[in-house]
Amino acid sequence: MASILLQNVSVEIPVFSNDSRSIKNSLLKNFSKEKASIQSVTALHEVNLNLKDGDRLGVMGPNGAGKSTLLRTIAGVYQQSIGHIDVKGSIVSLIDISLGMDMEATGYENIRMRAIMMGMKLKQIKIIEEEIADFTELGKFLELPVRTYSTGMHMRLGFAVSTTVPADIILMDEWLSVGDSDFLIKAEKRLHDYIQKSSILVIASHSEDLISKLTNQTLRLEHKA
């Protein structure tokens, strides 16, 4: 049973100037009269959400409205300054598919590294290695360092690795599209299958089309001065 509950959640992101990053200045501040406080930006203001199994939420809004911040807050990366959050279930975020990829390491090593980072056991990894090799059609290239890959090959690997580890909750920032037309169809299918297996999807996008096709609820974030 996966669920996401946000009650009156606000997120303030502190903006650090060079001054506040220095301990000298932080110490000196204690002696000076003016109390210079760290400025912060309100990225989310009183957001309420209640998602259960089977929910597919589309998040819309202009650039800078807080879509990515919302995803990061659900993922537990950013902590809310006010409000209450309760997320149950394993999370995979597809915000950056080349997360943690090392250019010097081989394709296989990158697969293992990422899978380990996502909490897979070494025993399980053997199986996904074969599956990814099959899907990406990279063949012998997987034994070479990633730096020798073309952009397309790089994307394929990142995409395949990201969509392998199963999770209850999937967080996406824009729909992923990778590769040439042949591969595109394959990738679309894989992504749909992957999302099917999850119980909750949260996707941020600008495209009305995509949101209406994929989701059953929409959240609109607005700018506020």
Binding site: A75, V77, Q79, I91, L99, A105, M113, I116, K121, L122
Partner: protein
Amino acid sequence: MTLHSTLKLGLEELKEGFTCHERWLYMAIQDIKLRYRRSVIGPWWVTISTGFMVLMLGFLWSHIFGSDLENFFPFFAVGMVLWGWMSGQILDAAGGYFQFGGVIKQIRLPFPIFTLRLNVRQLIILAHNTIIIALVLLLIGKGLSWINLIAIPSLILIQLNLTLLSIVVTIFCTRYQDMTQVVTVGTTIIFFFTPILWQVEILKDRTYLVEMNLIYHWIETIRAPLLGHLPSVSNYLWSLASLAVLSLLATYFLGRYRSRIAYWL
């Protein structure tokens, strides 16, 4: 947040970090493999360069101090190898969490994972460097004895100290970027204040200079059994006391700042 809930949060984070050992062990081994990918002898390069330095400087300094080689050389060699391992971890920690920024901003992982990953890298290098210690003990020193084995539990005790200290230093250096310089300079100063190049007897009646030095006790806890005698009770007391203090400090730092670190990157 009350002190109690802060410590509880920190303890949880610490526990989670230590228990997913499969992750940090694998990552550290992978890091080492990658770094030396393009060289045939790999991390043995570090061993060779450390070995050469110890050899050259060992002869030079034993001459300067006028001490006999059999006594000074093993003392210096063991001290240098251990110092490389200790200072390496603190300097890694002073780099802050910046190198893991991409990961930290996308998935929520217990922060000790990253510190342990860095610590294990240094442990792997130390494991290679033990060959220097073994060679020096066999060829110049008193040879190997059963007492040497006491160095292993000592090493675990000091590694725990270093890991907790690394967590505190990393969080501090992530928040205040000018701390990296301070830690780097501080580490160099401590090197000269700690009996590694010079032996305690040189201080004559001013031995309080080392008795008050925590790092001396850390080094001595491991070095003494390697040189064939038992560490003193005060070595152990200092190391255990620092372990207690650092546990508390690391737990507090993790509990207090865990949720802030992502904003600092």
